[in-house]
């Protein structure tokens, strides 16, 4: 099983590049939990890891690159 690159932090950014977060010790944390740590609601984002959409219950791995697509923008 792939466990990510040991020791590397998880990077999270908004799809338009306007904001970015780095989370240390995120391995094993659920994606939704990681969002909550940086003050975001998983209800308000679609989470994409390395090009694949994942659910908020998915566990993060060291070195994951997460891109968030906001759900809340105009019609």
């Amino acid at each position: 099983m792939y466990n990510g690159v040991i020791g590397l932090p998880v990077r999270i950014r908004l799809v338009d590049g306007s904001r970015e977060w780095v989370i240390e010790d995120a391995s094993g944390l659920e994606a939704g939990e990681a969002l909550r740590r940086v003050g975001l609601l998983s209800e308000e984002y679609i989470i994409v890891r390395n090009g694949e959409v994942i659910t908020p219950n998915e566990k993060l791995r060291d070195g994951d690159e997460i891109v968030l697509y906001p759900v809340v923008s105009g019609g």
Binding site: E44, I46, I54, V72
Partner: protein, 339 residues
């Protein structure tokens, strides 16, 4: 790893009410079933329709266009035309038009872009400046909303449309519902149903909301999976208003208590039925604007009133008393003296 409840592949979505997880393929199937059920339940379309899809260029309306285009391929009596209203907002509209054209051309769907400039002689940017010069008490979004609604109906009709589909989703609807409760606007709540304008006026195109029961999270995921998610450009006039706070609160509630949004929607549907029984709220018969001939709540429509107040439309002499009655500010020198 979260796996699809149906096939076991990696999940892209979990329906938190049923607890079911879906992979990409099964999410798209779930989405399709849900929208088709909504369309059937509220009798949105008949066997023969020319559906005009109102597209803003945002993810929800691009998703609606994509969805209805593919659905129409399976229904022989349906024709789809996309309609985008170009308000004329510099630095914003050009970008969204690009995304719109890309999607419309990829799908091979006919489209029409109708501009404020084309129909009213001025862009929204110009209208906002004129309004400020004349010290009119309106926000940019008031002009925009009124002129957009006016053009959607008028151009949909000109295109030969039988029904106008808009991309309002469950989240939009329940946010508006809560805002209107706070504002005590029951006359607006009664109009928040999934279908409006049934047999109310010969010039009024029936309006339907196929995403009425679809979460914004679901329309967003649909747009991403179908490569429709547009580059986000914020409208420079977008107000920071109470809607943002209400949205956040409802989303917090939904995270803690999955199903809150559906409960709010059921509450709205019930209250609409109760409100329909109140004569003062339901009698509002649709009139015909004496100036432009479009359907209107009053003798003169809101779009004509704004144009008169902005000084870009000369009111005919005979309607002056009506305008004065409605409290319209008529700029001096714009009254049409010709008989």
């Amino acid at each position: 790893m979260v796996n699809c409840s149906i096939c076991g592949r990696p999940a892209v979505y979990v329906n938190r009410i049923s607890g079911k997880a879906y992979c990409k393929k099964h999410f798209l199937e779930y989405f399709d079933k849900k929208v088709r059920r909504t369309i059937r339940k509220y009798k949105m379309f008949g066997k023969k329709e020319h559906i005009i899809v109102a597209v803003s260029g945002g993810k929800d309306s691009l998703s609606l266009l994509h969805y209805l285009h593919h659905l129409a391929e399976r229904v022989p009596g349906w024709k789809i035309t996309a309609l985008l209203i170009d308000e004329g907002i510099k630095g914003y509209r050009e970008e969204t038009i690009k995304d719109f054209k890309r999607v419309a051309e990829q799908l091979g769907v006919e489209y029409r872009i109708a501009g404020f400039k084309e129909y009213f002689g001025h862009t929204l940017d110009e209208i906002v400046l004129m309004g400020r010069e004349k010290k009119l008490p309106y926000q940019p979004c008031s002009y925009c909303g009124v002129f957009r609604r006016y053009l959607l109906n008028r151009v949909a009709r000109e295109l030969g449309g039988t029904v106008l589909a808009t991309a309002h989703n469950l989240d939009d609807i329940v946010q508006t519902y809560v805002m209107n409760i706070i504002n005590n606007s029951w006359d607006k709540i009664i109009r928040l149903g999934p279908v409006s304008g049934v047999s109310s006026h010969p010039k009024f195109i029936r309006r339907v909301k196929p995403f009425y029961e679809i979460l914004e999270k679901e329309t967003t995921l649909y747009s991403i999976l179908n490569n429709l998610y547009p580059k986000f450009v914020e409208c420079p006039y977008a107000p920071f208003n109470i809607r943002w706070t209400i949205r956040r609160m409802i989303n917090e509630l939904e995270e803690k208590y999955p199903g809150t949004k559906y409960s709010l929607l059921r509450s709205l549907l019930s209250i609409i039925e109760y409100l329909k029984k109140i004569p003062e709220l339901s009698k509002g018969e649709v009139k015909t604007c004496m100036i432009c001939g479009e359907p209107s709540a009053h003798e003169i429509c809101r779009a004509c009133i704004y144009r008169i107040e902005l000084g870009i439309l000369k009111p005919p002499k005979e309607v002056i008393p009506i305008l004065e009655n409605l409290g319209v500010r008529i700029p001096s020198g714009t009254v049409d003296q010709t008989e």
